[in-house]
Structures are given as structure tokens and as C-alpha cells.
Symmetry: C2
Subunit: 199 residues, 2 copies
């Protein structure tokens, strides 16, 4: 990595929490200068616009959140357990960005949409694999379930943040957990045999 | 209403869609001047700050959304039908405001929190009444169900907006609808009698 690339990456690393906290419009140049310790020229030597810096910062925050969520996931062989593990990881850069990028910020909006699509695709894949492995019921609609999981968590996160209480988020996870066990997980083969024997 | 009050109300009515679309930080003074047709002095004669105007605008948008959701609700005597009717009304000023007001905008945050609390209380009351009237199962936790409904819809709305598709929101409503019928609505007394007779 060249020194220029290092500086660029360092700017993104310091700008990301600012954009996540204050939003795109709420983050001023002086906020960015203070956080990075650079002058305006020092920042804009590396980025063509605030939009570009915000978009890179979103990608950085998103990659970090995704890798936290996926960490250790490969060690689990059961698809439902993998979905349940994904549920307990916190925080989401998507929430802020998706709402603010809704109008008048096409670059940021495109990034947020791409991130959501990639995340949905990843969950859908975990679910489809689970169906193939007969760990998940064959009738489950992978895409709908993935969207349901993401939607429930984002909505609960919004309420949790606004009420400054973990309870709504915890509750949403419990409901999803119960749903996964009762409506998504395929009945275990050995328990079927056991019940067949007992009859 | 005095002329001053009329002007004040007119400013709020014109500013509300702007704040809802562009957010607090994203709405500039020139946006507000253009929308209201007033000069800076003409606006700030009526409001002490942009925060105050944004807070009033949120209240206005929220009241409008709430009254749309509650319109005709009293005509329904069944609590589950009332909940289901609430589900189909669209749009939510809370989503934008809640996210943006999360940091560094205490006035707007307080309004959004108060709106969420009032809305939660109202749904909770519909559910509690339903339990009392034996239309809803006695084991249902009114507050948790209210939060679940709000959380699911807000999350689905976020995804719908980002993907520019009504499908996630429609899907969330279908799931809630099914949940209300299967897990919330009390078994009907006359069908119990009918099944008792048939045995």
C-alpha cells in the first residue's frame, strides 16, 4: 500500500463513525477536519467530494459489521443455528444510511441498496443450503424469510434506539428464534424414528 | 386564530414534507424560504430556531399520519379487526425522524420518542381492551405485541423504501395478519359450541 492509500484509508476509518452518528448532511467539513487532523485540502486530495468520502465510509462500516456477524459462522454446520447466531450480533450501519440516503443522495443510496441486497442474498443462501441439507423445511421461502429477519431486526433496532432500551431488540430476537425453531427447522429425523417406535 | 397563528401553521404545513424528505440537517434555510415563499425574517418571526420549526413540523406530520390510521376505527367493534386495519395504512414520519434524531438533536428526539410512546400506548390499549372483551387471548402481552407490530412495520418500510418495492412491506403485513389470526385472536365461542355439539 502506498502512503497515499494509507492516508486515504485512515481518513475513511476516522470519518466512518462520524457519518454513522451524525448522518451525511449532519457531518460538517470541520467535523471531518477535527476527526482526521487534516485540513480541507488534505482530505479532498484523496476524495473528489463529500459524497465519495461518505460512500467509502459507509462501505467500510458495513464491511466491518458484516465480518463481525459472519465471524465463526463457518464452524456451525447447522443452518438454523447459523441464522440464530447472525441474529445476536448488534448494530447496523444500514439503518442510518438507508433512511438518510432515501432522497437526494443517489451515490449513498446505491451503496446502501447494494449492501442490503448482498446481505439479503447471503441470508437467502444460508437458508437455501439448509433446505438442501434437510435442516430447514422444504416449504420455506428463502428470500421472504431473509427479508423478514432483516426487517424485524432493523425495526426493533429503531425502536430500541429511540426508547434507549434493549428490550424491543431482545424481544424481536426471541420471537425470531422461536419462529426459526417452530416453523423453519425441519423435524429431526431421529426424533421421528423415536416417536414412530413409541407408537 | 389570529393572522400570526395562521401564518405559523401555514409555515409548518409547508415545511413538514421538506423535513420528512430531506431530514433535519438536509433541509436548508433556502429550501424553507422557497417552500414557504417567505424571507428568513418572515420565518423566524414565528419560530425561535430551525429545531423548533422541525419539531412542530414533525408533530404536524405525525398527527396527520395518526389520524389517517385511526380514521373509521371506532366503527369496528372487533379488536383484532381494528389491529388489522391499523396495519394497512401506509407511510411513517417516525422512521426518518427517529433515525436522524438519534444523535445530537435532543428536541426532535424528544418529539419522536413521545410520538412512539403515544402510538405504542394506543395499540397497547386496543389489545388490552380486546383481552377484556375476550376477543383476544388472555395470555397475550399487550405491550410486547404492540412493539412487535410497530417494529415489523418500520423495519419492512425501511427495506421497501430502499429496494423501491412494496413487496417487503406487503409481506410483513401478511405475516402479522396471519399471526393475529392464529396466535392473538381468541377462539370464537360459537365455533366451540358447534364443535362441542358435533362431538
Amino acid at each position: 500500500m502506498t502512503k497515499g492509500e494509507q492516508t486515504r484509508r485512515e481518513i475513511v476509518r476516522k470519518a466512518a463513525p462520524l457519518f454513522n452518528q451524525k448522518g451525511f448532511a449532519g457531518t460538517s467539513l470541520s467535523d471531518l477536519m477535527e476527526a482526521t487532523g487534516l485540513q480541507k485540502g488534505g482530505i479532498y486530495r484523496h476524495f473528489s467530494s463529500k459524497e465519495e468520502l461518505a460512500a467509502e465510509s459507509f462501505d467500510y462500516a458495513w464491511q466491518k459489521a458484516v465480518s463481525e456477524r459472519l465471524d465463526g459462522l463457518d464452524e456451525l454446520t447447522d443452518s438454523v443455528d447459523r441464522l440464530k447466531k447472525i441474529l445476536v450480533r448488534g448494530g447496523c450501519p444500514l439503518l442510518n444510511t438507508a433512511v438518510e440516503a432515501d432522497d437526494g443522495n443517489p451515490i449513498l443510496r446505491a451503496r446502501a441498496r447494494k449492501a442490503l441486497q448482498a446481505w439479503t442474498a447471503r441470508l437467502t443462501k444460508v437458508i437455501s443450503e439448509g433446505i438442501k441439507e434437510r435442516q430447514i423445511r422444504p416449504g420455506v421461502d428463502s428470500l421472504k424469510l431473509a427479508q423478514r429477519i432483516i426487517g424485524s431486526l432493523e425495526g426493533a433496532l429503531l425502536i430500541s434506539r429511540l426508547t434507549e432500551s434493549d428490550a424491543p431488540l431482545r424481544e424481536a430476537r426471541e420471537i425470531l428464534d422461536e419462529y426459526l425453531e417452530q416453523n423453519v427447522r425441519a423435524p429431526r429425523v431421529h426424533s421421528k424414528r423415536a416417536s414412530a417406535r413409541s407408537n
